[in-house]
Assembly symmetry: C2
Homo-oligomer: 223 residues x 2
C-alpha cells in the first residue's frame, strides 16, 4: 500500500461537527480501526514523528496516514516514500480539520484492512483544538525550541489531548526550556494526560510512545 | 508609559475587513504613526524580537505594543517590565487579528504621541495571513528549528509580508535548515520581500533589521 491521493476539501460551516465526529468514531470502532489525530505548531516535527512511529509499528500493524496541508504535498511524499499510503487533504485557506474533512480523507482508504490511521493535522495550536475530528485518540507535539510557555498561551490544545509528546529533547540545554515547569502547567490543565519526552533525531523515548500507541490500537482492535 | 491594558475581543464576521483596514491605515498615516504587524508560528521568538527591537529603537522613537493572545498575559507582562505600554488583546478562541480588533487595541493608546506600534499577532502561520490588520508594514519570523520547508507549506504568509526575519540562526548547524533554499523559496513567492538573518540570543542581525524598521517609521513620520 503506497502512493498519494489528493483531495481538495472545503469547510462547510457545521454546527453538527460534534455529532458527525461521534458517528465517525462509532464507524471506526466497528471497523476496529484506531484513528489518531496528531497536532502541533508548524515545524514541531509531526511528519518525522509519524515516520518514526510507522517504523516502530509497521511490522505488527496496518497503517495509513491522512496529511492535511494548506498547500504542497511534501509531507505526503515523505510518507509515500516510506511505502505507506498517504491521503493528502488540501485544506486551501482552512487552518484545521473537522470531522467531515476527515471523513472525506477516509473515503480513500479501506478501513476494514487498517489497524491505525494517523491524521497529521494542519500545523497550528489554535483552531485544530476546537474541532473534534472523530479521532479516537488526540496527541500533540510541543518541541523544545518553541519554549515552555506554550501551555499558558494555548491551553485548549493541551486540554483536549490524550498524549503530549515533548519533542526535540536533544535541544534541552541549548534552548531555554524547563521540562518540569511544562509538565506542571500541562497536568494542571489536563490531569489525565500522558506525557512522553522524545527525540525523533536520537530515537530517545520513541519506544515508550509507540508502546502507548500500540496499546491504544489494541484496545480498539480487541474490543 | 508602561503597564498592561486588557481588552477582550470577539470577532465579528465582516466582509468589509479590507475597507476597515484601509481606513485604519489612513488614520495612522494622519497621526504619523507606523503600525507593524508581526506574525509567526508559536515559539518562533516574536516577544523576544520585539524586546530587542524596543531596546534598539527606544531612544529615538516612542513605541507601544499590542499583544494578541488567546489566553494569558505573559507576553504583555514582559513588555511592561521593559517599561513600555502593552495593550493585551485577549482573542478567546480566535486565531488571528483583524482590523476591528486592532482598532479596539489602538483605542487604549494615544496615537498622536506614538511613532511606532508593534502588533504581536497570534502565533499561527495560517489565519493571520488572511486578514489585513490595517498595519503599514507586515513582518514575519521563521525560526531555524521550524525547518526550511515552511514557505512550501504556508505560502500565503510569506507572500503578504514586507520582511522575513529568519530567527535563531544560532541553531544553524544543529538544525537541518538550508538558508539558501529558504531564500530561494521565499523570493519565488514574493520577489519584493526583504530578508534578515537574526538571532535574538546573540544579537546578530538585529542592527540591520532595526535600521530597516527605523527607515519604515521615518517614511511615515516625515511624509
Amino acid at each position: 500500500m503506497e502512493g498519494i491521493r489528493l483531495i481538495e476539501v472545503k469547510e462547510e460551516i457545521q454546527a453538527d461537527n460534534t455529532a458527525k465526529a461521534e458517528a465517525l468514531r462509532n464507524r471506526l470502532r466497528k471497523h476496529k480501526t484506531c484513528l489518531l489525530n496528531l497536532m502541533s505548531s508548524p515545524g514541531a516535527g509531526k511528519t518525522t514523528v509519524i515516520l518514526k512511529t510507522i517504523e516502530a509499528l509497521r511490522n505488527g500493524l496496518r497503517i495509513s496516514v491522512i496529511e492535511a496541508d494548506i498547500d504542497s504535498m511534501v509531507d505526503a511524499e515523505k510518507i509515500a516514500q516510506a511505502g505507506i499510503t498517504a491521503v493528502q487533504l488540501r485544506t486551501g485557506g482552512f487552518c484545521h480539520l473537522d470531522a467531515s474533512m476527515v471523513e472525506k480523507g477516509l473515503e480513500g482508504l479501506d478501513l476494514a484492512s487498517l489497524d491505525l490511521v494517523i491524521i497529521e493535522n494542519v500545523g497550528n495550536l489554535v483552531c485544530p483544538a476546537e474541532f473534534d475530528t472523530g479521532a479516537i485518540k488526540n496527541a500533540m507535539i510541543l518541541s523544545v525550541p518553541e519554549g515552555d510557555d506554550k501551555p499558558l498561551k494555548y491551553p485548549l490544545m493541551f486540554t483536549v489531548c490524550d498524549v503530549l509528546l515533548i519533542n526535540k529533547i536533544d535541544y534541552l540545554g541549548i534552548a531555554d526550556f524547563d521540562v518540569h515547569a511544562v509538565r506542571e502547567r500541562v497536568v494542571r490543565l489536563n490531569p489525565g494526560i500522558t506525557i512522553f519526552e522524545i527525540s525523533s533525531k536520537t530515537g530517545e523515548g520513541i519506544g515508550e510512545w509507540t508502546q502507548w500507541l500500540q496499546r491504544a490500537v489494541d484496545e480498539v482492535r480487541f474490543s
